[in-house]
């Protein structure tokens, strides 16, 4: 299995193309089996992954346009490994959750999802800027289609907004990437888009600043950071359940992953310089969007805004500049993917039953659908960061790591554990507690086998990784430490060297 | 002494007259007249500059401009006749069919 990464990327594509000829009625079964194979492949990748090796593994390199140094170049390290696995998992569970009677034209849905999976895996595995950009942009297309074809009443508006907004940002990012290649050409005399080569590039602080901003435009809109977040509630509000799940679980992570993969190692000085800026935006993101989430009437919008709020914590972790914060933030990406994905699934479940997501239509669901309420409660607790659930580990580490950078900022961002619980508990109380206010809801059925199949694995993961996160944290930690060492080595300004705490320095201090 | 500037300025003024005609004319035939004025104005400029530099290229260009103008008139008039047959008028306001 030398070409495991290529297989991971292109197997869904091939399967998706083949999916066109699959019989309509067996489309879902086909989708499940393909996604399952993909998921197993990703697990196989994990199994054969060398956890002590911090560098890129399973690398593949095929020159495509050699005069411009564009090549098909993929590799995986501890940072991307688990995001890939999570993408495969969430796609699989999302497909399992699809209700054949509710989704018109299931075949198209399956094909779109498989294409989407290809692009997602591609983004996280590619080590060539052009290939990365290619997958990055391609991922918009299936999502646009999913929202536009199966969405709610104003789906076209939401889909177009999602597409144009993120597309506009990534164009700026493309300019930034091309500029880096040009600068590399100036310096080294050869064209290359190989990320690992770029890491060697020594840029002046001023250039770093502007290039950081260019890439920021692309990544920040994807994350989405305040004030670029407004496409998200629309997209989530209109997207079908599966769209929201993938969007929240994986697509948003592309932004933060971009920061980790590109911004940090390429522009260490600018990254350190930008900490106050990022911190301000992130704190606003955390507090402001959490309060907006509290004001929502629609269950799904609460979770959409909570996503933004949590992404703020992830952003803070990315810029913590130490292994604790950065590792925690990557772990939080996974946990947020799983938890918010599960929450969107849960909202989808109730929406399928009642046709509404407005909280005031519910009330007292806990007594009608106890299992549903239990699963929702577990995910809620994971979302507010209860210890021994997956949500705590990342959040704790991020806040812990960032405390070294800015105590005040950490306290402000730490309010997430308060206001996060405010909107989540309010949501839970409004929908699940109290007497049954809506007579229509009295005969709602509890989770059925299909839904349980999709949700129980997530519950298991939430608990497992909350109690024993080591198998995941270990490889992340190894790669993160290497990243920090590289960053510190590359940093030019003394203050950047001061802020970036690589393990080496920590050891020296001891 | 009449220098090149005189010719060029005259050419510019004539061109502007033609330009003005193009702007204000609504009748297609009159528009053609205006364009002829502009073409001639340019021809003067070509000839004048050619003379100034002692170069034949200016005259050559003017020559070809005349040739083009001639063919333009031939085809253009043919088109005008067709249009007139169709609409009974050559007024641009009348024959405009596309509504923005």
């Amino acid at each position: 299995m030398e070409h495991i990464l290529s297989i991971l990327i292109f197997f869904p594509l091939l399967a998706g193309i083949l999916g066109f000829v699959v019989d309509k009625n067996s489309a879902k079964a086909y989708g499940i089996s393909v996604a399952a194979v993909e998921f197993l492949l990703s697990l196989w990748l994990w199994a054969s992954f060398d956890t002590t090796n911090a560098g890129m593994q399973f690398g593949e390199f095929i020159p495509l346009i050699s005069q411009f140094g564009i090549s098909y170049n993929v590799g995986v390290d501890g940072i991307s490994l688990f995001i890939v696995i999570m993408s495969a998992l969430m796609t699989l569970l999302g497909i399992i959750l699809l209700d054949e009677s509710k989704i018109a034209n299931m075949k198209n849905m399956i094909v779109s999802l498989l294409f989407l999976e290809m692009t997602m895996v591609g983004v996280f595995l590619s080590l060539d800027a052009i290939i990365f950009y290619l997958f990055w942009e391609l991922s918009l297309v299936p999502m646009l289609y999913i929202i536009g074809a199966w969405g709610g009443p104003t789906r076209v508006y939401a889909a177009v907004k999602f597409f144009l907004y993120t597309f506009a940002g990534s164009l700026v990012m493309l300019v930034g990437l091309l500029t880096i290649a040009y600068l590399y050409h100036l310096e080294a005399g050869v064209w290359t888009f190989n990320l690992l080569d770029w890491y060697q590039l020594d840029l002046s602080v001023g250039l770093q600043f502007w290039l950081f901003l260019a890439l920021f435009a692309g990544f920040a809109i994807k994350v989405p950071m305040f004030p670029f977040h407004t496409w998200l509630p629309h997209a989530h509000g209109q997207a079908p359940t599966i769209g929201s799940v993938i969007l929240a679980a994986v697509l948003l992570k592309m932004g933060t992953y971009g920061f980790v993969r590109f911004s940090l190692p390429l522009f260490p000085d600018a990254s350190v310089q930008m900490i106050p800026f990022i911190l301000t935006l992130s704190v606003i993101m955390v507090i402001y969007t959490a309060m907006v989430a509290f004001a929502q009437k629609d269950m799904k919008q609460v979770i959409a805004y909570s996503s933004v709020s949590h992404m703020g914590i992830i952003m803070i972790g990315v810029f913590a500049m130490n292994a604790e914060g950065l590792g925690g933030s990557i772990f939080l990406m996974l946990s947020h993917g799983i938890v918010s994905g599960a929450l969107f699934m849960l909202v989808g479940v109730i929406y399928e039953r009642t046709g509404t997501k407005i909280m005031s239509e519910f009330g007292g669901l806990a007594s009608i659908m106890p299992v549903y309420a239990t699963v929702f409660g577990i995910m809620l607790m994971a979302s507010v960061g209860l210890p021994l659930t997956i949500g705590f580990v990342g959040e704790f580490l991020v806040l812990l790591g960032f405390y070294e950078v800015s105590p005040l900022g950490t306290v402000l961002a730490g309010t997430t554990i308060i206001i996060g619980s405010i909107y989540m508990l309010t949501l839970f109380k409004r929908s699940f507690f109290g007497p049954v206010t809506n007579e229509k809801n009295r005969n709602l059925k509890d989770l059925n086998a299909r839904e349980l199949t999709a949700l129980l694995p997530l519950v298991a993961i939430v608990v497992w990784l909350g109690v024993y996160p080591k198998p995941v944290l270990g490889p992340i930690d190894t790669s993160v430490k290497k990243l920090l060492v590289d960053m510190e080595y590359k940093a030019r300004t003394p203050e950047a060297k001061e802020t970036i705490i690589s393990l080496q320095r920590a050891k020296e201090e001891k | 002494m009449i220098g090149i500037s005189h010719y060029l300025i005259l050419s510019g003024i004539l061109f502007s007259i033609g330009f003005m005609g193009v702007l204000r004319r609504k009748n297609l035939l009159m528009l053609f007249f205006a364009t002829e004025v502009m073409l001639n104005a340019v021809n003067i400029a070509f000839a004048a500059i050619g003379n100034y530099y002692g170069d034949l290229s200016g005259q050559m260009f003017a020559f070809f401009v005349i040739a083009v103008a001639a063919s333009e008139v031939a085809v253009g008039l043919g088109l005008l006749i067709v249009l007139y047959k169709k609409y009974g008028s050559l007024d641009l306001d009348v024959i405009a069919t596309m509504k923005g």
Binding site: L164, M291, F294, V371 | F19, V22, M98
Partner: protein, 636 residues
């Protein structure tokens, strides 16, 4: 010994899973009602065994596995069983066992019987983690775990609907649950900050490492850590100003109030301060420690004053819990950690007993809590009367019951430290305590049988429940006799605290003074509330309209203040933010799109199909180009 530790820790967890996984959806199952208490009892036995082991051989320290390990951070699941934690373990498991058995009777008719046991056992498990962990992160796990269980249990009767605060100050169980959780989270943030400070300055969260390195840290840092940790303690132990959730938490089933909101969880804050005694006894943080003592004293008085007028059976006990927590903090803040822990244990016994007694009354009175609708219940509920009377005597500090020894020691400590204001406040509060405890007891059991007017048919609790309560009653009586034994046992880990010679000298009249206050409190209560006939207690409208009465009845308007100045503004600001989000943030984005659309719309008229206007536009464009050419020629 490891096995014993694991048995003590995981038996409740097994119970929780047992009840939760296998019986969650089935109706009441008596197997759950037997197995769960049995498992907790096993845990209790293991704890007792461990206590003997610890007394004999010293602490047991084991590491189960790594939990989080990133960068330099390494947090294991490690468990430390020493004198302090084993004391807590015994107290927790003992009270839990009784409460579990009691719940069999109390929750008899509840359709969510199994769920209740699942939650209750989960709580015990979390509490065990809290007390047994060998590091701050593990403590935090338990800390949050008990928070969640408390949330689940306060909101156990989630199906009740929200009512206005005039009818029920807690609004609804689910509302009270959320309030408790959120308020605790505020404090948890402080605690987290404390953990971060410790980690970045010490490099570890293990108790032993931290306490060893603490003295080498800068003073300012130590103060910050002490404050941050105490903020955490304030939330869990419901100290002012984070106290309002505790009384609202009485919405939960009474066994829950007994276990969580009296005996165990709320003492976690005290436990934290005791656990972190190497920090709080440093000279650098003397100011913080004194603040803790002062705040404790203030809360003791403050809560007692509110208990004076309240009519709600459970709320009065809740206030008294608050008040007693204040006593514990006063002791801990003054450096008498072992006394604080002793009072914690003694208090757990008699307060749980008091609550369970109240539960019996509720059970008898169809969940009626208004004291003014009771009275004269002693005829039908003799057993409960005795229990509650004993518990109240203990609470009031009447010798030779438990409360006398523990509370007296605290008051003596205050005297010994020369903090006479605190001392007098505590003495006075002791008088108030005696008064309100017996006001409650007398209003319930003595005097006119007012309940008849309201058509209640009270009946005594099941026999086995009363029997099950007896260990608590016995301990409420005898616990104080073991003060010296406990002292010797505990000073192995906690700093010893001895009264000075001067205090010893004055001990006899100090004790008498406290006793005098307590007895007079009881006597007044008897005079006022226990009479029959023409002296019988009547509501006095004049008193009830008085300023003081209203102030106390409305909890000094603190909840009102929170609602008006925090909850409502938060809601309003949230709504405003949402409006801003739609109008401004999203509006800007849409504006860009709209500008583009409008520009297209407006310029569309250019494409009107009229050649003449095209020519005009072209002419204008040509002119612009020529101008540009001219300008560039001039410029360049």
């Amino acid at each position: 010994m490891e096995t014993l530790v694991y048995i003590a820790l995981f038996a409740p967890f097994v119970g929780s899973l047992f009840a939760g996984l296998f019986f969650a959806r089935s109706p009441k199952n008596i197997i759950v009602g037997i197995v769960n208490p049995a498992l907790i009892f096993i845990s209790f036995l293991a704890s007792v065994a461990l206590a003997f082991h610890v007394a004999e051989y010293g602490e047991v320290h084991i590491k189960m596995m790594d939990w989080i390990s990133v960068g330099n951070l390494n947090i294991p699941f490690g468990f430390l069983v020493d004198e302090v934690s084993v004391t807590m373990m015994v107290v927790v498991t003992l009270v839990s066992t009784v409460v579990h058995i009691y719940s069999n009777g109390y929750m008899d008719h509840d359709k969510s019987f199994n769920r209740f046991f699942s939650y209750l056992s989960a709580f015990v498990f979390s509490m065990m983690i809290l007390v047994m962990s060998d590091n701050f992160a593990g403590l935090f796990i338990g800390w949050e775990g008990v928070g969640v269980c408390s949330w689940l249990l306060i909101g156990f009767w989630y199906h009740k609907k929200d009512v206005t605060p005039d009818i029920n100050p807690a609004i609804s169980p689910s509302y009270a649950a959320n309030e408790a959780f959120i308020m605790n989270r505020i404090a948890d943030l402080g605690m987290l900050v404390g953990l971060f400070l410790i980690y970045w300055n010490v490099g570890s969260l293990q108790y032993d490492v931290v306490f060893e390195k603490l003295p080498h840290l800068a003073d300012g840092l130590l103060v910050s850590i002490a404050i941050a940790l105490f903020i955490g303690a304030m939330g869990k132990s419901a100290q002012f100003p984070l106290h309002t959730w505790l009384t609202d938490a009485m919405e939960g089933p009474t066994p829950v109030s007994a276990l969580i909101h009296a005996a165990t969880m709320v003492t976690a804050g005290v436990f934290l301060v005791i656990r972190a005694n190497p920090l709080y006894s440093l000279d650098a943080v003397a100011g913080v420690s004194y603040f803790i003592a002062a705040l404790g004293t203030f809360v003791a008085f403050y809560a007692a004053s509110m208990a004076l007028v309240n009519r709600d059976l459970k709320r009065i006990i809740a206030y008294s819990t608050l008040s007693q927590l204040g006593y514990m903090f006063a002791a801990a803040g003054l450096g008498a950690y072992w006394i604080a822990l002793f009072h914690l244990a003694a208090h757990a016994f008699f307060k749980a007993l008091l609550f369970l007694g109240a539960g019996n009354v509720m059970h008898a009175m169809d969940d009626e809590l208004d004291l003014f609708k009771m009275g004269g219940l002693k005829k039908v509920m003799r057993g409960t009367y005795i229990y509650m009377g004993v518990a109240s005597l203990a609470l009031a500090g009447i010798p030779p019951l438990a409360g006398y020894f523990s509370k007296d020691a605290i008051i003596e400590t205050a005297f010994n430290e020369g903090t006479y204001i605190l001392w007098f406040s505590l003495v006075f509060t002791a008088g108030l305590t005696a008064f309100y405890s017996f006001r409650q007891v007398f209003l319930t059991f003595e005097g006119e049988e007012r309940y008849k007017k309201y058509g209640f048919h009270p009946h005594e609790m099941y026999k086995y429940v009363l029997v099950a309560m007896s260990p608590l009653a016995i301990l409420a009586v005898v616990a104080g006799w073991f003060q010296e034994t406990f002292h010797e046992f505990i000073i192995a880990v906690l700093p010893d605290y001895e009264m000075s010679h001067h205090t010893h000298h004055n001990a006899w009249w100090l004790g008498l003074l406290v006793l005098a206050f307590a007895v007079s409190g009881i006597v007044i209560a008897y005079k006022k509330y226990a009479q029959k006939g023409e002296n019988a207690f009547k509501q006095d409208a004049e008193v009830e309209n008085g300023f003081l009465y209203k102030l106390l009845m409305n909890q000094y308007y603190v909840p009102y203040f929170y609602v008006e100045f925090i909850v409502k503004p938060y809601t309003v600001i949230s709504e405003k933010f949402w409006a801003i989000d739609k109008a401004v943030v999203d509006g800007t984005v849409d504006m860009i799109a709209k500008v583009l659309y409008r520009t297209g719309d407006k310029t569309r008229t250019m494409q009107n199909g009229n050649l003449s206007s095209y020519l005009n536009w072209m002419g204008a464009g040509a002119l612009l180009l020529i101008l540009a050419a001219a300008v560039s020629a001039v410029m360049g």
